[in-house]
């Protein structure tokens, strides 16, 4: 296009030059009768001369332009190998055109300058160029036509292919868009999933079949400080190896079975509920921190055990109590009914007889009341009682009262050795009573089971160094050395089947510790002796007048 513009520019310049010449008067002189050097050209008619001259000139110029164009095209196309075979057409045609242009130029020249031999020579040259060109062109035309046809066909098919390629491209663009949308959706779902995994209070980790840590949610990364993504599970958590958790994990991994267990993880001092789910690529593990829950559960269990222990002790005593209460009632009933029948009969009752019977009734009623008072405290949940000042004498008396019948039936003597002047102390009275009752029960069982000849239990108390020491000693055969270490463990018992659950001592000790005290087996005594120590805090000690001493020193025979 740029070259065409140049061409038009040149043509315009030429026309402009002619216009300048016309205005200068030169052209006017040309149209006079005297301009021709020889008067025979074109009948000496100026319009004929100028029409020929102008036409020939313009033809010559056009031919030069066409030649230039052909040469220009040939230069441009010479790089294309397929065109090589036809480049000669451009050159020979170009030569022919230039030669033709030269002959037309000579037509103009010869109007004024009659060099006809040169003009003829030019025509010969033109002829020499045109004849081979015509021949060759004629010879090549069929092939050329075929080539052009093939070229055009190729062009069409190429265009078709291009169209196809374009439509394929647009399709692939749609596909790409689709893929991108899918990826976005996937990312959104992933994000949701992540937010679910992140908002759970569980630590979630994923382990490959080769025990490599593949994933951990935020909780896992924050909570399990040894968690390192991409590393071996066992090197991150060496404490798990060899524990029961390892067995569970391997069972889940190898057995492809969902497994749940609870585990105390010592390095973190936490209880976990672990759920392991086998997946195609390994294990997904949910760790719930159940330390708090476990604490509450343990506490509930202890409370439950306390309750069962109390029921057990109650049933132990129920028989003795029923006996103890039915006997006084039988006495009262008998005395009263005798009084009634004799008063209604002919007998004369003396005042002394009535007094004696009534005195017996009152005395016996008191006995029943004392027993009931002891029972009242025992049958109650005491763990939530407020701490109150209590007297060790009163507690001891109630415990002994409660047990006396049982002990008497088995000929077990009860000795009481309470030092005088023991101050009141802050405690849950019922619970301390339960400890002492439990110790008395154990002492009793030990004697009865062993059929000991010597049959006594002693309950002693003393006050020393701001501590109250309450000792329960028995004449039983003693505790074998290898049992001593386990005595305070829950469910450990030396009693015969059905006699004890093995929780009494462990619970008693828990209660003692809850009071800031302790319960131990004394190591240095001849007979089995358990010592309950209750500390006295400054504010516990009430004034001396309140202190009572009902203790009678007792020394077993």
């Amino acid at each position: 296009m740029a070259h065409l513009k140049k061409l038009f520019g040149l043509t315009a310049l030429g026309v402009l030059a002619l216009a300048v010449l016309a205005r200068s008067g030169v052209l006017a002189s040309l149209f006079s009768a005297n301009y021709l050097p020889h008067r025979y050209c074109y009948l000496a008619q100026p319009w004929l001369v100028w029409t020929n001259v102008a036409s020939d000139s313009l033809i010559a110029i056009s031919y030069v332009v066409i030649f230039s164009c052909l040469i220009w095209i040939a230069r441009k196309l010479r790089d294309i190998p397929d065109i090589h075979a036809y480049l000669w057409i451009f050159f020979s045609f170009g030569l022919f055109i230039v030669a033709c242009g030269a002959t037309h130029l000579m037509e103009v020249v010869t109007v004024w300058w009659p060099i006809y031999p040169f003009s003829a020579a030019v025509k010969v040259v033109c002829m020499a160029a045109s004849i081979p060109t015509a021949l060759l062109f004629a010879k090549t035309t069929p092939a050329l036509a075929k080539s052009i046809r093939r070229f055009l066909e190729m062009l069409v098919s190429t265009e078709h292919e291009r169209d196809q390629a374009l439509s394929a491209l647009s399709e692939s663009e749609a596909l790409t868009a689709e893929r991108q949308r899918s990826a976005e959706e996937l990312a959104a779902v992933n994000e949701q999933l992540n937010s679910v995994l992140e908002c759970t209070s569980d630590s979630v980790i994923k382990i490959s079949h080769e025990w490599v840590l593949l994933y951990g949610n935020g909780k896992a990364l924050a909570g399990l400080s040894d968690f390192r993504m991409g590393e071996d599970y066992w090197s991150c958590f060496p404490a798990v190896a060899g524990s029961s958790s390892e067995q569970h994990l391997r069972a889940a991994m190898d057995g492809h079975a969902e497994t749940t267990w609870e585990n105390y993880f010592e390095p973190y001092e936490l209880w976990y509920r672990v759920r392991a789910f086998p997946t195609d690529d390994g294990l997904t593990i949910f760790l719930s921190n159940i330390t708090e829950e476990k604490k509450i559960r343990d506490q509930l269990e202890v409370e439950q055990l306390l309750r069962e222990k109390r029921i057990e002790a109650l049933s132990h005593m129920a028989g003795g109590l029923a006996h103890e209460i039915s006997n006084p009632l039988a006495i009262i009933h008998g005395r009263a009914s005798d009084l009634m029948s004799r008063a209604g009969g002919e007998d004369q009752l003396s005042a002394h007889e009535v007094h004696k019977a009534c005195e017996n009734i009152v005395k016996t009623s008191d006995r029943a009341i004392r027993i009931l008072r002891g029972l009242r405290g025992f049958a109650r949940e005491a763990g939530k009682d407020p701490m109150e000042l209590a007297s060790v004498y009163e507690i001891a008396e109630q415990c002994i009262e409660l047990q006396q019948a049982r002990f008497a039936v088995q000929n077990v003597r009860v000795g009481i050795a309470l030092e005088s002047g023991i101050p009141h102390f802050l405690c849950r009275e019922v619970q301390i009573g339960q400890i002492i009752t439990n110790l008395l029960n154990n002492a009793f069982d030990s004697i009865v089971q062993s059929y000991s000849a010597e049959r006594w239990v002693s309950l002693g108390a003393e006050y020393t160094n701001r501590e109250i020491h309450i000792d329960v000693t028995d004449s039983g055969p003693g505790i074998e050395d290898h049992f001593k270490a386990h005595l305070m463990e829950p469910f450990f018992t030396t009693k015969e089947l059905g006699l004890g659950m093995g929780v009494g001592l462990s619970l008693s000790r828990a209660i003692a510790q809850d009071h800031g005290g302790s319960l131990t087996l004394r190591p240095d005594t001849e007979h089995t002796c358990f010592r309950l120590i209750m500390p006295i805090k400054g504010s516990d000690v009430s004034n001396e007048e309140e202190l009572s001493s009902i203790g009678v020193p007792y020394r077993p025979a």
């Binding site: 028989g319 003795g320 006996h323 006997n327 039988a330 006495i331 008998g334 000929n411």
Partner: protein
């Protein structure tokens, strides 16, 4: 076994560890019985039983040194003839099936009425022929029909066993303790045994029941009394 008509002729041993109760029961008994001995526990009671013929033993169950249950168990080894036995208990922690089979006739619960006490003791020493004459006034709530092969241990598992005061047998029916009307059909014999009584123990585990007689139908009365007299069983109600 004492076969007396009246308490006035009976020798009674009273055992209780409670002095006041020994005094009260002793006072009640002294005016109506022949001879009265007292003991404060099983061991003392055994010493008396070994040397003195006793018609009726009235004993507490829970006592120091030797309780009533141990006393009854030892008694069957050491003493003959065995007296009638009445338990006076404050608490029902006694295997009644075993105690009835060892010869205990009645369980009295403290506290108790003088009249009830005397009634039970009278029945315990009475001739069998004086007993079970009158139907129990109130209608029985439950009735039991037994199909037994015979009487006594030899007739197989489906037999009934007679004691001095009742019988035991097997039944698939569920029973509750208390009044009962019973009808026993015997496969082997011609006679039937029917009357009223009290279910004294019932075991679902081995489908066994122990029934104390309260009334025997006149149609069976004479042969049942004859059977009891001939066998002279130690058990009040045998255990199956």
């Amino acid at each position: 076994m004492g076969c007396l008509i009246d308490l006035r002729e009976a020798t009674i041993l009273l055992v209780d560890d409670e002095p006041d109760l020994r005094e009260i029961f002793g006072f009640w008994l002294s005016s109506i019985c022949g001879t009265l001995y007292k003991a404060s526990n099983g061991e003392e009671a055994l010493a008396v039983l070994k040397t003195t013929p006793i018609d009726l033993l009235v004993t507490d169950v829970r006592m120091p040194v030797m309780d009533g249950i141990a006393l009854v168990r030892r008694l069957t080894e050491l003493v003959k003839p065995i007296p009638s036995i009445v338990f006076v208990s404050g608490f029902g922690d006694v295997d009644q099936r075993e105690m009835y089979s060892l010869g205990v006739e009645a369980f009295l619960a403290k506290p108790l009425n003088r009249e009830d006490f005397i009634d039970v003791l009278k029945k315990a020493v009475a001739e069998r022929s004086a007993l079970w004459l009158d139907p129990v006034a109130a209608t029985s709530r439950q009735s039991l029909i037994l199909h037994a092969e015979g009487i006594g241990g030899t007739a197989g598992a489906k037999s009934i066993r007679l004691g001095r005061g009742g019988f035991s047998g097997h039944t698939e029916e569920s029973l509750i303790l208390g009044k009962v009307s019973f009808h026993c059909h015997f496969v082997s014999g011609q006679s039937e045994m029917s009357g009223q009584g009290f279910v004294r123990w019932y075991s679902r585990a081995d489908q066994a029941v122990g029934i104390e007689f309260a009334f025997l139908d006149p149609t069976c009365r004479s042969w049942v009394l004859k059977e009891i007299a001939a066998a002279n069983p130690r058990s009040f109600i045998p255990s199956c």
